[in-house]
Assembly symmetry: C4
Homo-oligomer: 311 residues x 4
């Protein structure tokens, strides 16, 4: 059962459009991100949760820290306007130090720490503190969700060979790349689809073809997997050289679907190769996994990049 729409071998609709751009286009970055910026709806194009889930750890830490400082400054200002005399235990001498102490009081309130050596006395101060502690709890509820969302997000940590090769294959040639799982969890029922985009030099349109693969599905991705497109007469790339493909601004668009069985999650991985990552007359070095005496197999995943030039 094919999960992907492989039937139409003619110029197929991938949702990338058929426009032939004057600049060279790479629809998929090597990080798997689609290279399209969607504008026109102002703030409705934004997606805060998506950003929080996918941004780097460093950005996230900076956002959390600066929000923390900012919110505490706001509440320190509110408390200061209400008046330092409405707080017990606030024995500061200068207005500046009063403000700073109210800043710390705010931090102790929003985290629900509440040492209590400073405490609200008047009603306004108590109301503001009650609101701040509720806000703190809700914010940290949100933070819990975001952190859980980040860590539990389905991910396929696939390693792709740096290059896509034109290799000897059976009596002819084939286009090949390799993948491996670089984490310790298992991927099962992996399935791959390879599509190429290339400019039609006659019609000046960008065309898309699905490439027929020798094997498009495997049950376990325990070691590595070499994905092969035979360059036979049925192939839309039959007879084309790397130079021809570069001229047509070729892009190999790869979509892999698998199940991460630690979490029973379906995961997706995307990658693309352009002509500059193509190597002609080369073949991958066989991997050399070793089994120790207890029957455990050790594989160096980065060996999937290695290839030999063939004459």
């Amino acid at each position: 059962m094919a999960i992907f729409n492989n039937k139409n071998k003619e110029a197929l609709e991938l949702g990338f459009g058929t426009k032939n751009y004057s600049n060279r286009v790479r629809f998929l970055g090597t990080d798997g991100k689609v290279n399209v910026h969607r504008a026109g709806m102002g703030i409705k194009n934004l997606d805060v949760y998506h950003w929080l889930i996918t941004t780097s750890i460093l950005s996230l830490v900076l956002v959390i820290l600066s929000s923390y400082v900012f919110v505490n400054l706001i509440f320190a200002l509110v408390y200061y306007i209400i008046g330092p005399q409405n707080f017990g235990g606030l024995d500061a001498e200068t207005p500046m130090q009063q403000f700073i102490n109210l800043f710390f009081f705010s931090a102790q309130t929003i985290t629900t720490l509440g040492y209590g050596h400073i405490y609200p006395v008047g009603n306004a101060a108590s109301i503001a503190a009650a609101i701040e502690s509720l806000l703190g709890l809700l914010t940290f509820a949100l933070a819990t969700g975001v952190l859980y969302g980040r860590f539990s997000r389905p991910k396929a940590h696939l390693l792709y060979s740096n290059n896509i090769l034109i290799s000897p294959y059976k009596t002819g040639k084939g286009i090949m790349f390799r993948i491996a799982n670089r984490k310790q969890y298992e991927l099962i029922e992996s399935e791959v689809m390879v599509t190429i985009a290339l400019n039609n030099l006659e019609t000046q349109k960008r065309e898309f073809f699905n490439l027929k693969l020798e094997i498009s599905r495997i049950n376990f991705l325990a070691l590595s997997w070499t994905i092969v497109h035979p360059l036979d007469e049925e192939s839309p790339l039959f007879g084309l050289t790397k130079k021809d493909l570069a001229e047509r601004d070729v892009e190999f668009i790869i979509l892999i679907k698998a199940i991460n069985d630690t979490y029973s999650q379906t995961v997706y991985s995307r990658n693309s190769y352009k002509a500059e990552e193509m190597v002609e007359n080369a073949k991958f070095k066989p991997l050399t996994p070793e089994a120790n005496k207890r029957g455990r197999v050790r594989l160096v995943v980065t060996d999937i990049h290695l290839y030999d030039v063939v004459s």
Copy 2:
């Protein structure tokens, strides 16, 4: 592999029934909500979690704030009945101010803030405070779940063209609308089903037909997608004008299924068009995405609404 039940082209069962209502009916709102109110089971028809997950942010904030005030009022009352003399640090002069201070004490307890300048002394007061702090933790555990549920809920932020057009298509005509993804995440393996509901003027029953589509599935929804139903002789709408369709109270019911691959979630989007959103003799303006020098493509998604009148 079709995921939807497309086989039966004759009056098919959608679960909407075949009753021909005397009032005009729109089964699907433009917000994708099914326009049915289910009654008869009293409180068992209610679904609090569903409401909390789907209501607007504003409603949610109001519910949280008013619950916070309400619960603190209840506990302030309990503490007041137990007696202000059972609380240390409660130096208020009037009964009213005592009640207010106990309200703040309650807020400091339910959030587990616990400054401690007011504290329970007697056993009854301590028991009530122990219960309130437990209640607070459980409530905020619930709030965490609700907030996470809201943000992690699978959503497809599709933009539908404002109108559905009857356009020139090949040698005849076709019914067309356009969609685009307005967020930065990617939708893959998108699939669409279009069903029409219309009154049969003879039998006085409401009939349902699936419309055959030129393409019903695409692998990436990177730019936009124009969904086309050819008005050929096989179409149940062949030969009907907008006026005919309005007379039969036509409704185009659209269901789109896709995979949001940031979260590997299957997402659904629904929409409907009625006769008043139909435009005859028009065709969509081609979109004009532009690629910058780094190969990044910029698309103005709101351009999908634009069309030209054709003679």
Copy 3:
């Protein structure tokens, strides 16, 4: 595409075995629970998380409250053994009141409330309090997960008609029951499988058959759905009366699969009918949903139970 294994119309393996029990057996309760107790592995048969997720709200509240009291008693005892003199602010006169105050101190510690009017002074007391507060946080982290797990658990709130009818159907008869969704979210792509279990009076084995249905899948479950098995010559029930079926201890085992599109979750619902819930010579009353002027349809879901006796 059938999701269920419908092909084998002969005695098929459901995983219930073919044993013909001497007592009457109902494999599926009307609550959808499979009526099997699995023993033999002691504590490894237990599943605490499953219990916490599926038990009633009342049981859950009782478990939480009694655990809270129990843990605080344990820590109060620890603190008492460490010695009341190691706590500041513990101005109780009798040993009993000291223990009670330490109990409240424990509650203020495990919830991280920490008023501070009682506080640990010695190292042993401080260590115990540090451990208790960590334990509290971890426990409430667990509670958050359990509560979220309960509320976000995929559920199909289907209402089944109280009875399964033998009704006139086309030129012969059919077996029918009705379902409706009693909540406001939508169920899409609903699919049903009906299997019967009955004793073979000759072989003394229990046999299982899938029943062929008029329609086994609908796209929306907006109103109600009458599921019909035609009693034609192909049916394994052809020619059998209610009395015959009771004699063979018949059980109709119903499995419904649908997608709750608020959460994009696949949900399952099970139910069973026994001979005593079967009514011969009856047919369901048509439902009477009404559309108001704004096109909104109101349905009384409990009307699905209603039927008329036919001669």
Copy 4:
């Protein structure tokens, strides 16, 4: 509909490679873990979340406790460097006791307990405490996610018979093993795939074959399920004895997929049998579930291990 890739009955690609190791290899442990260590990317091979989710409870508790002590030691050191004179209520006489009290203050801060009998006075101390309480909240947000992730992780608690038997089957023989669900939740739509790996003595390559099963899918796994591979002429094992299979280092690789319908989660279970777990001329004892008067069936799941030797 087969979910697994069963078509290619010839040497099929499982992602385990075809290398014939000099040491005996067991690709799947009896715990279902794939016996492959993936190296070569340094820290990028690590997966902390995966470890936290899958490690034993004991390891997790030890990691949490030692992290708690470690982080508090770090902050105690920071506070000590800032200077004990910057903390109110820190009435310790020796530097050592001052450090210990700052350690407890740190614990009271990171848990947001905040008794307040020790409190920060200077700005540096207040800033450090504000950072520590934020860190505490974020850490416990993470802990909430990890604990929820552990408990909500989809799991199939299948019990496999200790042995795989060569039993009489119809007129010939069959290879059989049994499974049962040992928990109280239900598994539905269970599907099994059995693959064998064995060395080809001629080519010195490791070959993989899918075994044809009598039944490969059942709707309910209410009692037990005996999975049977008929040893007929089509079988790649036809005519081979246990001794032959041991010589070829046979491994039966079993993958089971089912739906846990409490959580509507697809769950996977894997297991393997080697020649030493194979028993010739034996057959499984029939299970003896009993139904009580209320129609509830009791099954001793560990009985699935039992077999009788046949002549």
